[in-house]
Symmetry: C2
Subunit: 263 residues, 2 copies
């Protein structure tokens, strides 16, 4: 047993979709979350910059005495997972491998949508090919999805048009579609509508949570009795984070603080 918390980080609030899944399968674990809202979004930035930011955040989470780090951000998972694994003496898990594993279980033809950074990193492409070399992977960057979701236009006909536009550019029959950005599960309904539910949508957050549970069990690091509350940290605009974050999570963010990492 290990009573320390699980550290989770993301470029902003999207990573709360991973927290939500973690809390479903590991209700006794305490979460310490960091959202880098002063430098969000990560999706359009370079590997070098994302690795630097991720290292700063991991260093901060270590000061919070976490037993494990989950990179909830797809872009940071794509760019910084290996670097953080090398640098840290605790387990580090990203969302890409888990998403890739789920996708290959469905069929050979796999679509992947994500930010520019995630798509250009080819992280899902490579992870899928490592598991099943014969799989066909069709990637598409969808940089308008995050701003549309953050504008609250989830059920809007304009969003439907934009989803249609992006999906049409994946011009083949796919069996599954990896929602390779933490915000995208919020578009599940509209994507299912446009594809008549014929494509299996993969939310890597779900599989990641299962993987975290498995690893904690293997290493005998589970917590069986919840004692302290979760903590949330952001690098800017806590009020905004609280408001949108509670929508993502469905419950109140009680312990939320602002902290500046760039010192």
């Amino acid at each position: 047993m290990n009573r320390k918390a699980i550290g989770v980080f993301d470029s902003g609030l999207g990573g709360l979709t991973v927290v939500k899944e973690l809390k479903k399968v590991l209700p006794n674990e305490r979460i310490v979350y960091f959202g880098d809202t002063a430098r969000v979004p990560y999706g359009s930035k370079s590997k070098e910059v994302i690795v630097r930011y991720s290292k700063e955040i991991a260093k901060f989470l270590k000061t919070q005495d976490v037993k494990m780090i989950v990179i909830a951000c797809n872009t940071a998972s794509a760019f910084a997972l290996e670097e953080l694994k090398k640098e840290l003496d605790i387990p580090v898990i990203g969302v890409i491998e888990a998403g890739a594993r789920m996708a290959v279980e469905i069929g050979e033809n796999i679509g992947v949508i994500g930010t520019k950074g995630t798509v250009s990193s080819k992280a899902y492409y490579n992870a899928i090919k490592r598991i099943k070399l014969g799989a066909n992977v069709y990637q598409k960057a969808c940089p308008l999805f995050v701003p549309l979701i953050e504008e609250g236009m989830i059920d809007d006909p304009i969003t439907e048009e934009i989803v249609k536009k992006y999906l049409n550019e994946i011009d083949v029959m796919i069996d599954s579609l990896v929602l390779g950005c933490t915000h995208y599960p919020l578009l599940t309904k509209v994507i299912n509508k446009l594809t008549n539910g014929k494509i299996k949508l993969i939310n890597p957050a779900e599989e990641t949570a299962k993987e975290v549970k498995m690893i904690l069990k293997e290493l005998h690091m589970e917590n069986f009795k919840r004692e302290k509350e979760d903590q949330y940290f952001v690098s800017d605009e806590p009020e905004n984070f609280k408001e949108l974050g509670e929508l993502f999570l469905g419950f109140e963010l009680e312990d939320l603080k602002e902290i500046n990492l760039e010192k």
Copy 2:
């Protein structure tokens, strides 16, 4: 006469619209530009964070021996102009005052569109009221415009729908509309089409360039003979900046370097 350069900064590449106007009215001046592409966008971040970033950039531009600093970013002008004026011993100019002055010349009813940060700062609102207390100012944040422009969807019917949606929310007859974000002048054609050209669109970059010229003349700081080339610095992704930046500017960015300010 003063042969030093004019320092110009922005959160990313939008500020190149200001450079373009500066080069029209001051062809002999040398420009040193900084685009904070590692932390772009500024529009959704807090005053505290924007002031910190702006101070770091001003400090860097001072090492490049500039005679003046132009804050080409609307959000940074709104949040950091006064702070930089206090801190620096060279003239500092933002884009807000110039835009406000142009707007009141057209009529009493003024629309302002910009990022969330610019709109919530009420910087245009306050600047317009200082010039003409009786003016009516109608603000609207349009957070989807920048990602649409950066997706190259300038002539797209989807963009037309989104422009219509935002403009409809300014539910009064306005005489002029301030394009309060450096990217927005790229939407001039579609906005003119939707408003039948009945609303005068204000591009603050144009007026800012005129103001810079006037100040340099007053202080006898003009450069009459061009000797060195312009220099461009970014904090991330120079290739991407070069490609899109040349579209914004219409000429080649020859001297472009990457630099990390967060040390």
